[in-house]
């Protein structure tokens, strides 16, 4: 299955590269409107056609890839760093702190993330700019997703704290920071990587769902989520099947991420 994993990696890298190089590849800016070409069919000027206000669908897809495919890993990093910090504090603190941590994770895991997210999103001022809004969308996603990785980290740190090697290191006078950096981090790094691989597809899908609901990345900035909003109009899909391109790209990325995840599980 190694070749499948390699192929998935190549496809994901190509998608990421496409996003990074969007300003160079895209024939037009993502927000350039050409009202006389509204709903234009695919042509040499508009390779995937134009949307209802004459924006080039191909350029918007490239820029949307940049937003969705690059910011989801950033949000996953936020969740993991937050989860690591919280779990360290919880495990190192008193029993009451740990009990509070346990209760808080139970609440976060019992509340569907989308509720938590739309509550936080509803708190944002109405005049938030698009760039700040994108940062906040993915930042909030990162904040909302800390609970599950934190539980895994806390369980692992708790286990390590009871282990013989750690007690031996402590009795030998090794400093706490050294134990954490040399002894604990290699174990936690593997868990962090596994959690990262789980969170990235979850955040890509979350952004897509939120974008479809109009609660994700705001216009005029494109993302896979808000580009999918055209799917609500079957007549547009029938007249220009290229409208499905964001969904196709999203599915390809998700399948590749899933392949990487399952090949890792198989290796373990």
């Amino acid at each position: 299955m190694k070749w499948l994993k390699r192929a998935a990696l190549v496809v994901l890298a190509s998608i990421a590269l496409m996003g990074i190089l969007a300003p160079q590849i895209a024939p037009r800016p993502y927000d350039a409107q050409s009202r006389e070409s509204a709903d234009a069919p695919p042509s040499s000027a508009f390779p995937m056609g134009a949307d209802e206000i004459g924006r080039d669908r191909f350029s918007r897809l490239l820029y949307g890839t940049r937003v969705s495919a690059l910011l989801a890993p950033a949000a996953a990093c936020v969740s993991i760093v937050l989860a690591l910090g919280i779990s360290f504090v919880a495990v190192s603190g008193s029993r009451i702190v740990f009990f509070g941590f346990s209760g808080l994770t139970t609440i976060c895991l019992s509340l569907p993330w989308i509720f938590l997210f739309i509550i936080l999103r509803a708190k944002l001022p109405l005049n938030t700019g698009p760039a700040l809004s994108v940062g906040l969308t993915f930042g909030l996603m990162g904040l909302a997703g800390w609970a599950w990785p934190a539980r895994v980290f806390a369980a692992s740190i708790g286990e390590m704290k009871q282990s013989a090697w750690l007690m031996q290191a402590r009795s030998a006078g090794v400093r706490e920071w050294r134990i954490a950096a040399v002894g604990m981090w290699p174990h936690l790094r593997a868990i962090a990587l596994a959690q990262f691989r789980i969170l990235v597809p979850a955040y890509v899908l979350s952004e897509a769902s939120l974008g479809l609901l109009g609660l994700g990345v705001p216009e005029p900035l494109p993302s896979w989520g808000n580009l999918l909003r055209d799917l609500q109009h079957p007549d547009i899909v029938r007249s220009n099947p290229w409208v499905l391109a964001p969904l196709g790209l999203l599915c390809i990325a998700m399948v590749c991420l899933e392949l990487l995840q399952s090949s890792r599980e198989a290796a373990l």
Binding site: I107, F115, I119, A208, L250
Partner: protein, 294 residues
């Protein structure tokens, strides 16, 4: 002796579960109260816009409202009202949250119950195909189907079923399916490799007896626990499905509340759903644990 230990263990587990639920109410209630208290415009008193009252009266009204709404006092009032079933009034719809919930809960409950049951059934069917016949074609087929549905956002699935005029609970089932497939597959693989099942097969036990007594019986505790967890997934996918397909349920209500920034309604809904899901999860874990203990 073992029975006594089991009973003690069950009592401890029950105690922990209840404590967890109390924590959900206390911490979740605090978070909801704080969000409502600090929502935009909460402190504004309609009387302060009345041109006939003096500046001093307006100031006094504002001070009295601020005293009334100090977070600890507001939290206690919010929590005691919530425990009586009063979650305040929706800002945008001007209707009590509990009334809105009563009207919309049956639609969402139907969608979630059928969707979760369908997702679990399809997940179990695919997992059985992947594990039982020991044929790589079956495994590839079930993994592909599960991967396909995992890659499609639930909202897109819902749109497809909506335009095809098919029942929407099928979209919920397909959204739940890939998220439970992996766990059911792992449970079935464990059961399949267990010595008791091998022994039963060697004794020539009939396939139906094998399936009912040795497979379903052995995996039942994990499946019950999984059903509790699946509820969170189902509630998660219900918002985009109801919002986009115009289903008058709790998900659509939450979406409308988010768009109109109606925090009292949103927080009330979130608190109720958190409590319901936490109860279902705890019950699933308890029943599962009891099953494992037997």
């Amino acid at each position: 002796m073992t029975g006594a230990v089991d009973k003690q263990g069950l009592a401890a587990r029950l105690g922990l579960t209840l404590l967890n639920l109390v924590l959900v109410v206390v911490i979740g209630g605090f978070a909801a109260a704080a969000l409502v208290r600090y929502s935009p415009g909460f402190d504004v008193d309609e009387n302060s816009w009345n041109p006939r009252i003096s500046a001093a009266t307006s100031e006094a009204l504002h001070a009295s409202r601020a005293r009334e709404n100090e977070l600890p006092r507001f939290y206690l009032n919010y929590l005691s009202a919530a425990l009586r079933g009063d979650f305040g009034q929706s800002d945008s719809l001007k209707v009590p949250v509990s009334e809105l919930l009563r009207d919309r809960a049956p639609v969402t409950t139907r969608l979630i119950v059928f969707g979760t049951a369908g997702g679990l059934f399809l997940g179990a069917l695919l997992a059985w195909l992947a594990v039982w016949p020991r044929k790589s074609a079956g495994e590839i087929f079930s993994v592909t189907i599960s991967g396909f549905f995992l890659a499609i956002p639930p909202a897109v699935l819902a749109l497809f079923f909506f335009f095809e005029e098919a029942p929407l609970w099928i979209a919920v089932a397909f959204a739940v399916l890939p998220r439970v497939f992996g766990t059911i597959r792992a449970v079935l693989a464990n059961v399949h490799a267990s010595p008791s099942l091998l022994a039963a097969r060697a004794r020539g036990v009939r396939p139906l007896t094998l399936a009912v007594r040795h497979v379903a019986g052995a995996a039942l505790p994990q499946w019950i626990a999984l059903a509790g967890v699946t509820l969170v997934l189902a509630f998660g996918v219900i918002i985009p499905i109801e919002a986009l397909c115009d289903v008058p349920g709790i998900g659509q209500l939450a979406w409308k509340a988010a768009l109109s920034r109606d925090l009292p309604l949103l927080c009330g809904l979130a608190l109720i759903i958190t409590f319901v899901v936490a109860c279902a999860q705890s019950l699933g874990e308890l029943l599962g644990w009891e099953g494992i203990g037997r």
